[in-house]
């Protein structure tokens, strides 16, 4: 054990990374559950034009981006979204076993954004981009890969666009704020994101120690 300083981080997962990511995903499951109780009120708003219902579906995407922002390791977005999906499957999901495929695809969307910047950028615009990408891949899954809707072309485009928009806001801005808040509360001690609250808001937020 000698004195050392590192600037580039290892991409391998520590036990803390694994357990925190897992518990975050489970906590997301609890937040889904809390959200479910009030969702039926909000869901009624979209009864007259169902394609815009995805405006609030970003809620289902936040574990992916939150996981990536907090853990900052390859696979965090996919892992958190899949575990959260598995929890909802265990609790009884509307979509049965297909939540696993949509969970994977939604996580993949966010994952690809962070992979593109080699897990070095975690600022607001990338969080929003990841949320939007998650909505996009989620929408693609719902309509073409494991189709759960049979909408006309225009409605399909609206449905997916709203999903991406919602992803950018609910699954982009909110997880980014949450990560900063968590870092400021100094609970992220053992994780790569512990300095998130001191990083610049936009481009240039590098995960330096």
């Amino acid at each position: 054990m000698s004195s050392r300083k590192t600037t580039t981080r290892s991409w391998s997962w520590t036990v803390s990374d694994i357990v925190v990511a897992s518990v975050l995903a489970v906590a997301s499951g609890v937040i889904f559950w809390g959200w479910n109780l009030s969702y039926h009120l909000i869901g009624n708003l979209f009864v007259f034009y169902p394609p815009v219902e995805t405006l609030v579906h970003g809620m289902w995407l936040f574990p992916a981006v939150l996981g990536a922002l907090v853990i900052r390791k390859p696979g965090a977005a996919i892992y958190c979204e899949m575990v959260a999906a598995a929890i909802s499957a265990l609790l009884g999901s509307q979509w049965g076993l297909t939540v696993l495929s949509s969970g994977f695809m939604q996580g993949l969307g966010a994952e690809l954004v962070f992979l593109a910047v080699l897990y070095r950028r975690f600022s607001l615009e990338f969080a929003m981009l990841a949320g939007a990408a998650s909505g996009l891949t989620g929408g693609i899954t719902y309509h073409w890969i494991v189709p759960m809707y049979a909408y006309a072309p225009l409605e399909t485009i609206i449905h997916i666009s709203c999903f991406a928009l919602s992803g950018a806001v609910i699954a982009g801005v909110l997880p980014w704020l949450a990560t900063r808040g968590l870092a400021a509360s100094s609970v992220l001690g053992p994780l790569a994101s512990r300095r998130a609250h001191r990083e610049p808001m936009l481009l240039g937020g590098t995960p330096r120690g």
Binding site: M1, S2, S3, K5, T6, S10, T14, V15, S16, I18, V19, V20, S22, V23, L24, A25, V26, A27, G29, V30, I31, G34, S38, V47, Y49, P50, P51, E53, L66, V70, V83, I87, A89, L91, G92, S93, Q94, G96, L97, T98, W144, P147, M148, Y149, Y151, A152, P153, E155, A178, G181, L182, A184, S185, S186, V187, L188, G189, P190, R194, G209
Partner: protein, 797 residues
């Protein structure tokens, strides 16, 4: 278990500075502990005691930390001596990894790749050693009390056959009976194994006479003092020194020298309290008659078949102005639930709860309802202040000053949105409290970053800021050092001296004495503690049914095959076949019709919504049935919608049946052993899943705490949204705290490195074949029926 002799511990110039900290937690530590020595490790709060234990347990490895020197166990660097040291932390919940006690004890042995046959011998002897051999190996760890959970953790450690036991305030969260159980179990284990023991503890009297050596750490440095443990009782100077560090020294009263209640300050006017006339002393404020209380809402919930029974019934309580009342009683007697009910945060299950005119206050206050649960939270904060057991539950703002201001801001004149205090008054209250709490230097600090004692003081301060008459506290002295204890008593005495009233749930006799409290002891005529809500969330496992006893992977494959068939086509016939087949399989799952209805009706509703959505949004075909202008419902879109709705229902039905008969532990075993998914991730997810029920409880408590702070989920959509977001953030903080501790527990039991064995083999048996074949058959039948009926509607065409 005599073959694991004690480990000799050596620290050689060891320093550790956590990332993001300006000073080292420990610097240049030189310490020798001989094999089998029993050491009581003490020091002021922040002296690096936990850091040292984590270092010895080999779980410190922060990439950005500054480290120097060495920690050696029998000459081997601590991080390479996997399995030689076992660590027990303070919070019982994060010391348990798996949901069955046998599995939990086996966990560490599995991680050390102990052969399967030997694992169960180790489990049996470890459970025996800690006095838990009376339980079945399948007993749910969630149903153990705090003291039993800590003993289970000890068993998990002993199953590694370690030579060093590291105990980090192992009894701080326990009631007195739990403290004795755990202490005795540790001493017995040390005797059986000959292991070296290092205990960190504030309350020295628990351990003092059983230890060999006292080591006192100097904050930010090395060893300050090393003495025989017996000197704690005999050496006056040592006692003074330890007291000054905030430790509880046997035979010393931490309140020594504190002014007597109702002392000299009573005639001084206190700007935080309305002046009280002496003749109002003893006026009745709150009266509970035949009160019945319960954790869950007294009304039926859709996921639960029956109304949850009350935890406690027939409670008679009178709370009078100026008094201090302590509610005591065994764990699980419903004390906290009673307190939440009296505080107007939970609805009563029966009986009456009446706030008198004295509590409601003059003028507009008289308009308030009798039951505090019906009050707005803005009216509640100014009358009843609730201090939660976990201070962090109460924090909703980014700085100490903002946290204090919030309480005062949220107090409103009853029936109006008019603030009770002017901005100048609010500022005056904040300034006064900053001084009184000793938090002025930390006014801009984030509340979550405070020390344990500072958080406790702030949690009381946030409540006092709104100027409530009645202060309620839930176990306020749990895990606190003697300094914080003294400060807390002093704050509460001031409140009472100024005419205020205090009601506390506590196990702490010193606390009751310190406040000269009247005691109300709840008798334990109730069943043992309720299990956390996990079972309820999972809709209740039916593991005893035929399907419940089948291999989890086989069931997963069956559902996968059925789901795949349904996903391929959108048509009513295939969906119908699957629904009928699933209903026919219900007896195998032990699910009755009523149970099925309760499980499925939300999904049936969801299917209707899905049908409706597609009917509106699908491409128009055939005759138009309804024209809404911006969209239409046509014959074709309606038929498509119905098919989609039926399919959605058919997809969810088999998965609900399968998952309600599958234990997550079995599923994880199958995924890791048979499907060969990475064991670290599968077990991480499984351990996290055990926290589901606990996190759900945190969620509920955070909701109560928001109402108690005046920022509950009520009123307009904006306020509800803000409150829910704050609740979600609070949950994430608690989740990460728990996860970090759990990660330490798992790693200190050898998790995460190298090959592991499995205590239970997951493999297919002959009886699992019908499950897979059944799934294949149902899927094939659905496809064939749809093709034969001409309704086959391939989705990827």
């Amino acid at each position: 278990m005599g073959e694991a002799p004690g480990v000799a511990v050596a620290a050689e110039g060891w320093s550790w500075q956590h990332a993001e900290r300006e000073t080292p937690a420990i610097a240049a530590l030189d310490l020798q502990i001989s094999a089998g020595e029993k050491v009581l490790l003490a020091g002021a709060s922040g002296a690096g005691k936990s850091t040292l234990l984590h270092g010895l347990a080999g779980v410190l490895h922060d990439e950005d930390a500054q480290a120097a020197g060495q920690l050696l166990l029998d000459g081997v660097p601590a991080e390479q001596a996997r399995g030689r040291a076992g660590l027990m932390q303070q919070d019982p919940e994060s010391q348990v990894v798996l949901s069955r006690i046998g599995d939990d004890v086996a966990f560490a042995a599995e991680n050390l790749a102990v052969p399967r046959a030997e694992i169960w011998d180790r489990v049996d002897s470890a459970l025996e050693a800690v006095g838990l051999s009376g339980f079945e190996l399948e007993h749910p760890s969630a149903k153990l009390s705090g003291g039993q959970k800590q003993r289970l953790a000890l068993a998990g450690i002993l199953a590694m056959r370690p030579g060093l036991l590291l105990l980090d305030e192992p009894t701080a969260n326990l009631d007195p009976a739990g403290v004795r159980q755990v202490r005795n179990a540790v001493l017995r284990a040390a005797e059986l194994t000959g292991a070296t023991v290092i205990v960190v503890e504030h309350r020295l009297e628990i351990w003092a006479e059983h230890m060999d050596t006292l080591v006192v750490l100097e904050t930010g440095a090395g060893v300050r003092r090393r003495s025989p443990a017996a000197q704690i009782r005999t050496d006056q100077a040592l006692g003074d020194e330890l007291s000054s560090m905030g430790l509880w020294v046997p035979g010393r009263d931490p309140l020594h020298g504190l002014s007597i209640p109702r002392g000299a300050g009573a005639d001084q006017e206190d700007p935080l309290k309305e002046p009280q006339c002496p003749d109002q002393q003893g006026e009745l404020l709150l009266h509970a008659g035949k009160l019945a209380v319960g954790r869950h809402s007294p009304t039926t919930r859709w996921r639960r078949g029956s109304i949850a029974p009350p935890t406690l019934t027939g409670v008679e309580v009178e709370i009078r102005r100026g008094e201090t009342l302590g509610i005591t009683g065994a764990n699980g007697a419903g004390k906290s639930t009673l307190l939440l009910t009296l505080a107007g945060l939970l609805p009563a299950h029966g009986g009456t709860l009446t706030a008198t005119a004295g509590l409601k206050g003059d003028g507009p206050g008289q308009l308030l309802a009798a039951d505090p649960h019906e009050w707005r939270s803005a009216d509640l904060v100014a009358r009843i202040g609730m201090v939660f057991q976990e201070p962090e539950h109460q924090f909703v703002r980014g700085s100490v000053a903002a946290e204090l201001a919030l309480g005062a801001e949220q107090a409103k004149v009853p029936g109006t949105a008019e603030p009770l205090y002017t901005p100048a008054e609010i500022d005056a209250r904040v300034q006064l409290l900053l001084d009184r709490l000793g938090l002025r230097a930390l006014a801009q600090a984030n509340p979550f970053t405070l020390s344990g004692g500072e958080k406790r003081r702030l949690s009381v301060g946030t409540v006092l800021a709104a100027g409530p008459e009645l202060l309620m506290l839930d176990e306020p002295t749990f895990g606190q050092d003697a300094h914080t204890f003294r400060e807390l008593i002093s704050l509460l005495r001031e409140h009472v001296d100024a005419g205020g009233t205090v009601l506390a749930v506590t196990h702490d006799a010193a606390f009751l004495r310190g406040l000269q409290a009247r005691e109300l002891e709840l008798s334990r005529d109730t069943p043992p503690p309720e299990a956390p809500a996990a079972g309820e969330l999972f809709g209740g496992m039916r593991a005893d049914s035929w399907l419940g006893r089948r291999n989890a992977l086989a069931k997963l494959i069956a559902v996968f095959l059925i789901t795949a068939a349904l996903v391929m086509t959108i048509d009513v016939v295939s969906a119908g076949v699957v629904v009928l087949a699933s209903l026919a399989a219900l007896p195998l799952a032990g699910i009755r019709a009523a149970g099925l209805f309760r499980l499925m009706w939300p999904f049936a509703l969801g299917a209707v919504v899905a049908a409706w959505g597609t009917a509106l949004a699908a491409e128009e075909s055939g005759a138009v049935l309804v024209d809404l202008g911006f969209t239409t419902i046509s014959e074709g879109s309606l038929a498509l919608g119905l098919a989609l709705g039926a399919r959605a229902f058919a997809i969810v039905l088999p998965s609900v049946i399968i998952f309600s008969t599958t234990d997550p532990t079995d599923l994880a075993d199958a995924l890791a052993q048979q499907l060969r998914l990475p064991a670290r991730f599968v077990l991480g997810a499984l351990a996290a899943m055990r926290l589901l029920g606990l996190l759900a409880e945190h969620w509920t408590t955070l909701g109560h705490a928001r109402r108690a702070r005046g920022v509950g989920a009520h009123g307009g959509a904006r306020q509800r949204l803000r409150s829910t977001l704050s609740q979600a953030f609070g949950l994430l903080v608690q989740a990460i705290r728990m996860a970090t501790r759990l990660a330490v527990t798992m790693e200190s039991r050898g998790f995460g490195a190298g090959r592991r064995t499995w205590a239970r083999a997951a493999r297919f048996h002959a009886a699992d074949l019908p499950v897979i074949l059944g799934g294949a058959l149902i899927g094939a039948a659905a496809v064939c029926a749809a093709v034969a009926a001409g309704t086959w509607n391939f989705v990827w065409s």
